[in-house]
Assembly symmetry: C2
Homo-oligomer: 586 residues x 2
């Protein structure tokens, strides 16, 4: 368990501060963020590789910042995606004119927050790209690689991207090589016991002490199967054959192999396992190139390990072998084309035409003035947000309890934090309804990190865009806005109805609202009926199984428990219904 | 707990094999040992720095072998000293003509085994020196630094010695600098929870989960005091002020500082604590030179950490800063005066006159032929050894249980292993009594490692030297031999009567034997009475508290439990008494 902390709520901030104090020879803080970057900041003309995700995985992510590896890391709370704002600011600070590559494991919250940050950076003319890491073969079948999670394979992809950027490759090349490394990387993990959060006495999840969980994710996501505890030799056999089953056509046998400890499974044990891994790989004709045995992507003090193989070729081998010098990983002696600060501009700094065009669009933007009618609608929006905050505050403890059964128990706290930020941003009587909703959405998304903040942020912003700042929206426009919002949430979250998310309440709500409005019912009355339907639908999420690939503990614990995101959405919709009906009645 | 293994008894061997497989680019096996050395073996003309101790502390010790750090590591079983034979062989293999420095933490078993190996190497003309690490301020008061244990300060001393050797310093200089580094290094640790051995379900020791143990040793040795769990800031205050209280006169403030994790206390927590350590050190005028936060000397999956400070000066600073390249620790870029194999001989290769003289003595040695009478006595010695083995086998489980209460539960198994080797070596009818005893003693000491093997080895060898291979020893000679053996064990173990060791049974035995023989009693009868006294004395060790500084768990668990070494000694003495009385009666 985690025992060293002051205020658990400040654990991440204290950790980043201590990390920076220990390794100021490597890293400095990205101003106004909890992110870190190479000492000296971006190198002009060099592609910046930015990695990140929740904390609790050290040396991923901040321990891997330095010459030959990452240029920066965006750091979220424990096992929680950093916010869009954090990712955006780190990307913005590290733009050296040659483009920015985001690379991180494939988790819903990270995909949303980094994705929105990428969009914002591109809108501002920075050539930002993304390579998701999807190495965990246990998390989805081989014909759906895009659904796989990223675990220790993160390290290989970061290493390849970092080495390519260090030698001066263009953003196109860095992206292509990182994507190729990801395509050729496979990992399978095994878990023996869960980790415990700062301030908690109980682990996030438990594994029967007489068993092991093959394929369990690094946040406790469901594994492939539970087996009795295996000997080191038997486990080596299982891990190696699972990886070899996906050996790609054309692989000549060269491979970067990592045996990664998750935290409490120590080096001596890893070496015992490695002894049995090596002959099995050699028998299959695998040639091990600079293998690593140790802790590269951890999960606090979780017990377990994973085996990663990246099939190398003539292009990837020198990038894997290339020097690197970071707080937690060093190899060889780095000589970079990009020395501190005033590095030589190598001519690889290219802004694409699309990016230049975006830069121009950005310059042309102007703020539209809101009509007096829209400002009146904005007052209703503010009342609705305030009422949502009241209701969520009343239900904060209950939402926390629901979330604690299968999650980390902070859903109620996160909703209060996000709504408080939203209400604060909305509190400006010069704004129109659309501007108010967009400001509230931005503030919500930036306030916390994780998925619920960014989803609610997208939801409010989509509604705001449809409603605009001139007309008073009629009931049909409100329905259209809600449909647009549903689409935005679906695109962003990558989930569908039935995956046990807030969509399971949102979609029935919009369907009912649409039917009632089409039947001529007044908006307030239609909304109240639709909110009742959403409440019932949220309750029905008890029967659902969460989607694999989300950062969420063992599936079976979640069954019988409603989805906290769906419950809080239904509470909010009910609160808004009260305000709308009040308006009609008044 | 430790979960990855095949046969727990082969854990160390499997671990070493896996380590060598992973890091063949750095290390190779020292032939006929479980020790490792820099790839390419010793560099002619370079001092070889050899570190070691029990395993379970990775990266200490084998992970620290490479240019700029150690030349080799001697590796014992988990938390158990390597045997004399292992240390000797690694030292012998790594002699590059310029001398060998042994450096390791101050634990009884290591001191005995490395000490005997050093003597043997010197006897053979190799200029071997030793620098004990004694950094743990919790283990003895500041006026008795020689009684302090070595913990994470190991790393600083090894680093300084390794850097000095790498730049071509003479053995005198390397020894002086390593000793100076040790004199200027202080560590204080804190423990939250014990670690679990391979094959065991219960931890080696437990800490009340609501408490922390300040000053607990890395094998669970007693700490300074138990406190309630402290916040990170409070703990930082405790650790820093304990270290600053021993700031040496003349220290100008420069310091190498290490915050070391013991295994399950992870990096994020260490950074949180570090955040609160740094300002407290800076306030006291400490200038941090390349600090390290991470796992350098662990204890399997023990939860806890330690803070180390080495006060640097103009001599030590460049050695601390110097490059190193090992599997687990890398700094800068190593350029060595000693390239692989055929390095330049720098003229620092000096053999002292004493060492040359020893080389000559060694050459002059010859084997003395035993008399027929002594060969008959040797037959009695063999019967005695065989009977001891029978008795210890019968009591193996019981001895294991006694040892498990406060130790690692392998005392019975270790005694059986050692006695089996002793009986095997004694089984040669051409040997005299002294030769038989010496051969048995050597085999016992070399069979296992740990302290009991080396103590029993020294005991038998001392008896053998006094008895010789010509005369039939009378009762007074036997008493003299036992007195000599007691002295050898006392010198080697560094313990006194009352420290809860086998001496607490051995000394009363010899006293009684002496009195009875002096009173004219026959040897067999006197021995039986003396053995009864030893049995009673072993039982009385229940009341004793073990000496601080031994690799042994919490003192309070040991009280009420007899010392397993004293119990097994009494069993052996009783067994010998049966054989001697049988002889008299026949």
């Amino acid at each position: 368990m985690t025992r060293l902390y002051n205020d658990p709520a400040r654990f991440k901030d204290d950790m980043v501060e201590g990390f920076l104090a220990a390794y100021s020879r490597y890293v400095e803080r990205v101003p106004d963020t909890s992110g870190v970057m190479r000492a000296g900041g971006p190198r002009p003309g060099k592609v910046s590789v930015i990695v990140g995700g929740g904390s609790g995985h050290y040396p991923a992510f901040c321990g891997l910042v330095g010459p030959g590896l990452a240029d920066g890391a965006v750091i979220g709370d424990i096992f929680t995606s950093p916010s869009t704002q954090q990712a955006y600011r780190v990307g913005k600070a590290l733009d050296g004119g040659a483009g920015v590559l985001f690379s991180y494991g494939n988790y819903a919250g990270d995909v949303m927050n980094f994705g929105l940050a990428e969009q914002r950076l591109r809108d501002e003319g920075i050539d930002c790209r993304t390579v998701l890491v999807t190495d965990d073969i246990a998390s989805a079948p081989s014909d759906k690689p895009e659904k796989r999670r990223g675990i220790a394979g993160d390290f290989v992809v970061f290493k390849v991207a970092g080495a390519a950027a260090e030698r001066g490759d263009s953003i196109d090349e860095v992206e292509r090589l990182a994507r190729k490394a990801n395509d050729l990387t496979r990992t399978i993990g095994v878990a023996f016991a869960g980790c415990t959060f700062p301030g908690k006495d109980e682990p996030l999840f438990r594994v029967d002490p007489t068993k092991m969980e093959l394929g369990l994710g690094i946040h406790g996501e469901p594994g492939v199967r539970t087996t009795d505890r295996l000997s080191a030799a038997e486990l080596a056999g299982e891990l190696v054959s699972a990886l070899l089953a996906e050996r790609p056509d054309g692989a000549d046998g060269r491979a970067a192999v990592i045996l990664n400890g998750l935290g409490a499974t120590k080096y001596e044990e890893l070496f015992v396992l490695w002894k049995d891994v090596v002959p099995r790989l050699r028998e299959a004709g695998v040639e091990l190139i600079l293998p690593e045995v140790g802790e590269l992507v951890t999960s606090l003090d979780m017990a377990g390990c994973s085996l990663t193989i990246c099939w190398l070729d003539d292009e990837l081998t020198p990038l894997w072998e290339a020097p690197a010098d970071t707080p937690a990983f060093r190899r060889g002696s780095v000589s970079s084309a990009f020395s501190t600060g005033a590095g030589a501009s190598t001519g690889s700094a290219t802004s694409t035409a699309a990016v230049r065009a975006a830069r121009e669009r950005q310059a042309e933007r102007r703020v539209e003035e809101a009509s007096p009618q829209s400002r009146e609608v904005a007052a209703t929006v503010r009342r609705a947000l305030d009422r949502m905050l009241e209701v969520i505050r009343e239900n904060e403890a209950r939402l926390g309890e629901i979330d604690a059964i299968a999650g980390d128990g902070d859903h109620g706290r996160g909703m209060v934090r996000g709504l408080t930020a939203a209400c604060g941003a909305a509190n400006n009587s010069t704004l129109g309804a659309g501007q108010t909703l967009r400001a509230a959405g931005e503030a919500w998304a930036d306030s916390g990190g994780g998925s619920s903040g960014v989803l609610w942020g997208a939801l409010l912003q989509a509604i705001g865009r449809v409603i605009g700042d001139q007309e008073v929206p009629d009931a049909r426009t409100v329905v259209a806005a809600l449909r647009e919002a549903t689409d935005a949430v679906t695109r962003l979250g990558g989930a569908n109805v039935g995956d046990k998310t807030l969509l399971d309440a949102l979609v029935p709500f919009v369907t009912t609202l649409d039917e009632r409005v089409a039947a001529g019912e007044a908006l307030g009355a239609a909304w109240r009926r639709a909110a009742e339907e959403a409440t019932a639908a949220a309750e029905r999420t008890r029967e659902l199984v969460p989607k694999v690939g989300r950062a969420r503990p063992l599936a079976d614990k979640s069954v019988g428990n409603p989805d906290p995101g769906a419950v809080s959405l239904a509470l909010c919709l009910t609160a808004v219904g009260e305000v709308l009906s009040g308006g009609e009645q008044a």
